[in-house]
Symmetry: C2
């Protein structure tokens, strides 16, 4: 039996700071209805899908930011999304800010089955940006302030989705740029990587010039290479458009294990992309070029886990007799 899963990426347009979760959830329900019409069995929503990308706003006292976090899933406000999933028999991936009962804060994604059960949870590990207010930046990027580093590793689980067993894993936003993150999933035979992002259209660090279109190239390169090098499908879904004058790019894609784009969003607003993912296509790469057991050489990868930052290489010393 061919294992074909019909997967939708539900890109969201901007959510303004003043807008409540009801606005976002209403739009997400409409996208799920559209996904149902398109025959999708899984819908992937963006990172922090319920609110504006709040890490751009500085709060000296983090408890003043509590309104951005979810303490339960579903909640009264997110219940309509869970109801729609049950009605249409669609599994979904949701990114949200999580505050735990003991007060810890994470940038989290959950993969939820149509009955509302949380099948898998992931907490973002590669937090970009900074922790303290930085006056030199026009826009703050305070993920290191608002979230702890994820404490769940990079989990993969084999789960039934619409009658198909599929190895699912998740990344969040900046994680997609890190081949280590993809490889952790690939080493667990992931077949479908779901990931949401909120990515500014310009490099806010202003240490150098980076043309607008390159930011999109980087996102696509990272997802396509991650899929190719780990023989999996990837669904990268943006929150896009202008949130309170701050621009996020769209260009959500679905990529296959050959690294090809098989669907792409072209607006910066709510938009659904859909593709049939033949999970059996993961087998070719996994059994040939990327047969890890046959070809990987961890004895030569010592720096990857043995050091955090980079080190300067030694300077070449010409042989003494070369001076003759």
């Amino acid at each position: 039996m061919t294992r074909i899963l019909t997967v939708a990426g539900a890109q969201l347009g901007p959510i303004q700071k003043s807008e409540g979760r009801d606005v976002a959830v209403g739009r997400m329900v409409r996208l799920m209805e559209r996904a149902h019409q398109r025959g999708a069995q899984v819908v992937v929503y963006p990172e922090l899908a319920l609110t504006t990308f709040f890490p751009r706003w500085y709060e000296e006292d983090i408890s003043n930011a509590d309104n951005w976090y979810e303490t339960a899933l579903p909640s009264n406000e997110t219940a309509p999304l869970f109801e729609a999933a049950r009605k249409y028999n669609i599994a979904f991936h949701l990114g949200y800010a999580e505050k735990t009962p003991d007060g810890r804060r994470f940038n989290t994604a959950a993969f939820v089955d149509p009955s509302g059960e949380i099948v898998l949870k992931y907490r973002k590990i590669h937090l970009p940006g900074h922790k303290e207010y930085e006056p030199r930046r026009q826009v703050q990027h305070l993920e290191k302030r608002y979230f702890e580093v994820g404490d769940l590793g990079f989990p993969v689980v084999r789960a039934p989705v619409a009658g198909v067993d599929v190895n699912v894993g998740m990344l969040i936003c900046n994680d997609r740029r890190w081949p280590e993150a993809w490889r952790e999933l690939g080493l667990q035979q992931v077949e479908l990587v779901m990931l949401g992002y909120n990515t500014p259209s310009i490099n806010q660090d202003r240490k150098g010039f980076e043309a607008h279109h390159l930011r999109v190239l980087h996102s696509h390169l990272s997802i396509q290479a991650g899929c190719y090098q780990n023989a999996c499908f990837g669904v990268g879904v943006a929150k896009a458009g202008v949130e309170d004058d701050h621009e996020l790019f769209g260009h959500s894609i679905i990529a296959n294990p050959q690294g090809e784009m098989i669907a792409q969003a072209t607006t910066w607003d709510d938009e659904l992309i859909v593709a049939d993912c033949n999970l059996d296509q993961c087998a070719l790469g996994r059994s040939t070029i990327f047969n890890f057991a046959a070809h990987r050489r961890p004895e030569h990868y010592g720096r990857i886990t043995g050091q955090v930052g980079s080190v300067e290489p030694p300077r070449w010393q010409p042989p003494v007799n070369a001076a003759e």
Copy 2:
């Protein structure tokens, strides 16, 4: 002072099994002359640049393959290349089969300064293919027979090239598909990655269909992502064309730290591509998104060095009360 290095990739067309090193070296010298005319300070030649891609030919007794290996560099046959480098004051990267005095065999690359000194040597770590004759294959790919896994790690050295200090490293062919290899170099602040390849136009394993053009996409994706994710320049240089009825693709490229292609070969024959590489462009990525010290999380990368092959993920178990 801006550190601009003018780098050439010297793609080679096919070398037939019957052709001697004199033919290949003659063509390489002409490409170096052309590189001089184009103002290049470094020339990168392909993997196994001196002979046909001999791992496609099976020899039961490996000593019958001795004629494909170099036991000294320079030799009488390669001396004209070293002379041209000295004459034009050009450093070069050369891929070759190496047989050591104690009889070990490696797929090797050397970076040679204009005076003929070997600045850095690398021995290929990710050997593709297989060790024994496989009747199901139309074409053999016996790199695991003809070479040991490289024993030098992934070295990087800071070397003066045309008056510019540059952190140079090397990969060989299949290495470019492995993000672990790029990261080992990136963790040593590599600025210029030189790599040659001999890559068949079709997946010879025949376990599944892989369209011709995807093979090129995979090469480019891997090099562009490797450069972006490690904030370095990459020069990927093919031996291309039809060798004794066996087709290798070309499409050599130079990529910059943004992951952009800044030069591309379009023939499958001897062809020079040249680009100015502003090494200062490596600083942006390295100090922002890919500031490894600030953002990497090796405590979550345990599988990368802790296991070789992939493992099956656990199967999801719905909560017992979900069956109600």
